[in-house]
């Protein structure tokens, strides 16, 4: 932790930082906040997809002649890379579905409720409106889609 000279004492910088914030959904242990979990999952799946995309472009552009292509494909057909592909499939499903929800919420302001006169117990409108139902739907559909992808990839 860096600190900065100020007057007699030094201020302590107290920021968890990018890694903590993007990987730890329990950085703030507050209840009733699955949006935070979705935020972390969205970041992690985004990085997974990006890594896959880079690797994919590299493999398909570097292997120009047929023999090399065959050998690389042979090396990538093991069970370990199968599991890797399954993880990528799950990441794509979640990132895509949650992305639709986020576009609706962030660009059009949909599903965050309307301002109201607060009454105890204070549960703000945005945590009990359309986007929350959408989030549960996203979680359910992603799990189902991921399971389906597993069936198709491993049973087929």
């Amino acid at each position: 932790m860096a600190s900065e000279e100020r007057g007699r004492g030094r201020l302590l910088h107290n920021m968890p930082g990018l890694l903590q914030a993007s990987l730890n959904p329990w950085l703030v242990r507050v209840r009733n906040n699955p949006e935070r979990l979705a935020f972390v999952l969205h970041r992690v799946t985004g990085v997974i997809i990006l890594a896959y995309l880079v690797a994919h472009i590299f493999v398909t552009s570097a292997t120009v002649d047929e023999a090399l292509w065959e050998s690389v494909m042979g090396a990538l057909s093991g069970p370990l890379s199968r599991v890797g592909e399954w993880i990528v499939a799950g990441a794509v499903i979640f990132h895509g579905l949650n992305g639709i929800r986020l576009i609706l919420v962030e660009f059009l302001g949909l599903g965050v409720g309307r301002p109201e006169r607060p009454k105890p117990p204070y549960v703000p409108p945005s945590l009990r409106s359309g986007q929350r139902k959408g989030l549960y739907l996203v979680f359910a559909l992603s799990l189902a889609g991921w399971a389906l992808a597993g069936v198709i990839m491993f049973a087929g």
Partner: protein, 308 residues
């Protein structure tokens, strides 16, 4: 913040262990310190901290003022959640099985000492979004003769956001503020929205230019923790999303302010001026009847009020 225990708190444990994260600015040292604090029904975390300061360790520093959730200076992280120390019951965060209460300074704000954090940058961000009514003709505000007209519905659309006490809990909980020190933060952005949609305000274009930046409203990724920790139910997460909608539509040329509130102007019926009477019985202590007779007071009344 949603209190699950709201309305039916159990008795707190007899004694709690207060684990406080301390910081010494002179030596640049951080450490955890534990205090055993006897409790009573209704004791808050702030009461426990004050008990420590009075009875166990006078060097413990914290900040507070009103002790009733109004001033917003006592924000600390209790058991991993940013909360107002004065509004958090010990019984809500400690139980007989787990009588440990950890108290840390707010995250994302630089720490001055122990639990005291530096809010300079936070207030600076709030100031940056022009947190007051702006009119084309600023004389309407500065030399105000009349108020602006506003319907109850228009008031309700900003009322929730105007409850903000600037305690900094949302900023402390925000995962984006945790990695980008330049980020305006939930508090400032919610206030920007509150003033942009306020019917009395005409400074929306200036504010939109301020929030429509890399470190402005587009940095938000809707983790919504700000709304989950807000002690006043301000709902910054919803405000930011609606602010982004306005910024987005404004870029496309599809948003404009539908209505700007006019000045109230003079009353249709003039007020009636009547001479007030001083009470003749039950004189107030120190009242001087002679002086009252010398300096009569006139009061302006509406006709309707007089009839009642």
């Amino acid at each position: 913040m949603a209190e699950k225990e709201w309305g039916r708190l159990p008795e707190p444990p007899r004694e709690v262990v207060l684990r406080v994260k301390r910081y010494d600015p002179e030596r640049g040292r951080t450490w955890w310190q534990e205090y055993r604090v006897p409790t009573y029904r209704g004791m808050t975390v702030l009461d426990a901290l004050l008990w420590v300061k009075e009875n166990a360790d006078p060097s413990l520093s914290m900040r507070y003022s009103c002790r009733m959730g109004v001033c917003g200076s006592c924000g600390v992280v209790v058991n991993g959640v940013p909360r107002l120390a004065c509004q958090t019951q010990i019984a809500a965060v400690a139980s007989r099985e787990n009588p440990v209460v950890t108290v840390e300074p707010l995250h994302n704000h630089p720490v001055v000492r122990d639990l005291v954090t530096d809010f300079t940058a936070f207030f600076e961000k709030h100031r940056r979004i022009i947190p007051h009514i702006v009119r084309r003709d600023m004389r309407e505000v500065e030399e105000a003769e009349y108020e602006f007209l506003m319907t109850p519905d228009e008031h309700l659309s900003i009322y929730q956001y105007s409850l903000c006490i600037m305690c900094g809990l949302c900023y402390s909980a925000c995962p984006v503020a945790a990695s980008d020190p330049e980020y305006l933060g939930p508090q400032a952005l919610a206030q920007a929205y509150r003033f942009i949609v306020d019917v009395r305000d005409e400074g929306y274009d200036r504010r939109i230019a301020i929030v429509d930046t890399e470190h402005g409203c587009h940095r938000c990724h809707f983790a919504a923790t700000c709304s989950a920790v807000c002690p006043k139910d301000v709902d910054p997460a919803a405000a930011i999303q609606r602010l982004r909608r306005i910024v987005f539509l404004r870029r496309l040329g599809l948003w404009r302010k539908r209505k700007v509130a006019p000045l109230a102007g003079p009353l249709e019926k003039p007020l009636r001026r009547i001479r007030a009477e001083y009470p003749r019985h039950n004189l107030v202590e120190g009242a001087d009847p002679e002086r009252q007779a010398r300096e009569p007071v006139d009061i302006d009344f509406r006709e309707e009020w007089l009839r009642e």
